[in-house]
């Protein structure tokens, strides 16, 4: 067979610009960046998990042991975390506070965002901007005036101190996020409902909210994560060990002077990050769709 015959029998099934999709091209544009992203995102979890199961001898000795592997895994760090500290209690407190603050914030944010996005009152744009600006006030400035209020209301050292103060930074962000989402919903849906005699409240609960589920979930995940990781208010407003949240509690109990119990600290961080990771994994589709827009007009 001649060379010409070979060429003539080769079938090219590629369409459009697929001829550009060579293996080196895909390697550079897809696989290498993807691997780098995966490494950056997953390595901290790997390190946390690794340290959790490392005995102290391996943790300190990099010359005899590979720092990226564990030779003799131990559960001692987890035992110390769960049985020598009040970690389960802190986890419960953190969960209750994060869930309550998230629901409270979402409730307020939905009402605020709907009003700003749909009720055409004078200055609604400015109000929307001001709400977002409120988000920019750092908690390190807000915590002292808030502390005065918390003490005056007799809420110091209780979960309510956190449930009621976390919305100060959750509501502005969630509202801003939901305003954007509500604006992508077509007006016509509401106008039809109005013609059919629906009230504003009915429109909100029966049309807008069901359509805004991805946006609500997105705002909810943000609010939950921010509440879960919050430190400064939890440090300032909670005093007793049993009412502490995970971020504050682990530091109090697992850092003794300049001795850090790394194994238990990492176990605490790992278990603390699991609920958030699980939450993300359940709702990731909604989360992505909320970022790419709502109902197409």
């Amino acid at each position: 067979m001649t060379a010409d015959a070979n060429i003539s029998t080769r079938v090219d099934n590629r369409e459009g610009m697929q001829y550009l999709e060579t293996i080196p091209h895909r390697l550079v544009t897809l696989w290498i960046p993807l691997l780098i992203f995966l490494f950056v995102l997953l390595f901290p979890f790997y390190w946390m998990a690794l340290t959790t199961f490392k005995p102290n001898s391996e943790l300190l000795n990099y010359s005899d042991f590979n720092p990226l592997w564990v030779v003799e895994p131990t559960l001692a760090n987890i035992k110390k975390l769960l049985f020598d500290t009040q970690y389960p209690r802190w986890l419960l407190t953190t969960m209750v506070v994060a869930v309550a603050a998230t629901f409270l914030s979402l409730f307020c944010s939905v009402l605020a965002a709907y009003a700003i996005a749909r009720l055409r009152f004078k200055g609604s744009e400015t109000v929307g901007l001001l709400i977002f600006l409120a988000y920019l006030v750092p908690p390190s400035i807000l915590f002292i005036p808030l502390a005065t209020m918390i003490f005056e209301m007799g809420l110091y050292d209780s979960m309510w101190a956190l449930i009621l103060t976390y919305p100060t930074f959750l509501i502005p962000f969630s509202t801003w996020l939901l305003i954007g989402y509500f604006k992508t919903l077509p007006f016509e849906l509401e106008e039809c409902a109005l013609i059919d005699g629906a009230s504003r409240f009915q429109i909100l609960t029966k049309i807008i909210l069901p359509l805004s589920l991805p946006g609500l979930i997105s705002a909810g995940i943000f609010a939950f994560t921010l509440s879960w990781n919050e430190f400064i208010y939890a440090l300032a407003f909670i005093s007793s060990s049993e009412n502490k949240t995970v971020p504050v509690g682990v530091l109090t109990e697992l850092v003794e002077g300049d001795v850090y119990h790394w194994g238990s600290l990492m176990a605490g961080a790992l278990f603390g990050s699991l609920p958030v990771a699980i939450l993300y994994s359940f709702f990731v589709d909604y989360y992505v769709s909320s970022l790419t827009g709502a109902v197409k007009e």
Partner: protein, 440 residues
């Protein structure tokens, strides 16, 4: 004798009589000073104490046991809350600003000077305890007094010493740990040459970064003078920074980013043979389950910081003190509690249980058996005696606190040591930063 006039005789006689009378008056006064102040405890009193999390378990166990003894004796319930030690200051600020919170706080450095007007005068118990137990070390008055008033009660300091591997130091040609700066530099060079280097934290380490203050003070440098005038940019400071520049290449890699836990880890990992630290490294090794690290404990020794050209110790340690807020409904109960906890019967067992992590503020407590039961802990005994206050030689207050919290001295030494700035440039930048703080 011809110059000795009748008037002089009268003066001398009156003077002698006054001294005699004064002496007679002074004796009962001293005796009275050792009498405990009258502190009628308020009816139904309860107290809340916020203190730093324990450095060692024995600390909190014995503190709690002593507190229980106080409750049994007086009927006053004391609730003890704990926070990680760097987190006490923000909680204290909140309490001071809102006028509510713990009755007593156990804190570090000069925090009580930031809200001195909101604190209960502790002069009576401080005077009583000081007189009873041989007096306070000089630095205690600096930290705890504002004017003539004691606004806090010094607890002591989490002292730092030079922690070294004796076999490595000997292998480097030194039979004893050097006591001067030249010898110290030579030791670090020799350790480096042997592949067993030193390592000192040059990052923003709250406790272990305090060696940078020692270095500057050892050569006569200081951030401010007696009148709070910024004098950091001085020939003495430059000399200290040039020393740091020569010292830095002898360190293990990575010290520029080291924080408080890094040197502990590097030492126990065998990466370094010399660092500055509390007694925690030694006890971590001694109590380790790992036979290799446990064996290291036999080789770990401690020494006080070498003395520089100024000719006297110039150390800085994590100084802790207690204070009582005026908003407390039970100030007498709070004072009675502090007095009880500082008495020898409570303080010494607590210090012993803390395995020497905290060095006493009172001269008489240096005979505590914690310093003799393990001779290796002995250098820590003198850390409070040897220390200066971080705002040396000015006064303590918001400016000195800001200078400490901004790590100005640590950063200056790190810049000069690493060569990112010349000693002169590093001192100039520190001067600018300090001027902003001390002028405002």
């Amino acid at each position: 004798m011809s110059d000795f006039t009748r008037r002089d005789v009268i003066k001398t006689t009156i003077g002698a009589a006054a001294v005699g009378a004064g002496g007679g008056l002074l004796l009962p006064r001293q005796a009275m000073a050792q009498q405990a102040p009258n502190l009628p405890i308020e009816k139904g009193a309860t107290l809340r104490l916020l203190r730093w999390s324990q450095f060692v378990q024995g600390d909190i166990d014995t503190w709690t046991a002593n507190t229980k003894k106080f409750t049994e004796k007086t009927g006053v319930e004391v609730r003890i809350d704990r926070e990680a030690w760097p987190d006490i200051a923000p909680k204290a600020s909140v309490a001071a600003n809102v006028g509510s919170g713990p009755d007593i706080i156990l804190d570090f450095f000069d925090v009580p000077h930031l809200f001195a007007d909101k604190l209960v005068d502790l002069t009576d118990i401080a005077t009583y305890i000081g007189n009873k137990y041989g007096g306070w070390f000089p630095v205690c008055e600096r930290y705890a007094k504002q004017g003539n008033q004691w606004i806090a009660l010094p607890l002591g300091a989490a002292g730092a010493c030079m922690v070294y591997r004796k076999s490595h130091v000997e292998a480097a040609g030194f039979k004893e740990f050097p006591k001067d700066m030249d010898g110290f530099l030579q030791l670090c060079k020799a350790l480096h040459a042997k592949g067993t280097p030193a390592g000192f934290a040059l990052g923003n380490a709250v406790g272990d970064g305090s060696w940078t203050y020692w270095l500057i003070w050892a050569f006569g440098g200081k951030i401010v003078d007696d009148n709070n005038k910024v004098v950091i940019n001085s020939p003495e400071t430059i000399k200290a920074l040039e020393y740091a520049k020569e010292l830095y290449p002898t360190f293990a890699p990575g010290t520029l980013g080291w924080l408080d836990p890094n040197n502990n880890k590097a030492f126990l990992d065998g990466q370094i043979s010399l660092t500055n630290n509390g007694i925690s490294v030694y006890y971590a090794a001694k109590n380790s389950q790992d036979p290799k690290i446990k064996a290291m404990a036999d080789d770990i020794y401690h020494a006080n910081f070498p003395i520089g050209p100024v000719g006297r110790p110039t150390e800085l340690h994590l100084f802790s003190q207690a204070y009582v807020f005026k908003y407390s409904k039970y100030p007498n109960a709070a004072k009675a509690y502090l007095q009880f906890m500082w008495e020898k019967e409570q303080y010494e067992p607590w210090q012993e249980a803390s395995i020497g992590y905290i060095t006493h503020p009172l001269k008489d407590y240096e005979n505590n058996k914690v310093w003799s039961s393990d001779p290796k802990s002995l250098p820590y005994r003198d850390t409070v005696k040897n220390m200066l206050w971080h705002g040396y030689s000015g006064t303590l207050g918001p400016a000195s606190a800001a200078a400490l919290n901004d790590y100005i001295v640590n950063n200056m030494v790190a810049q000069a040591a690493s060569g990112s700035k010349t000693p002169k440039e590093a001192a100039e930048e520190a001067e600018k930063r300090l001027l902003r703080i001390y002028k405002s």
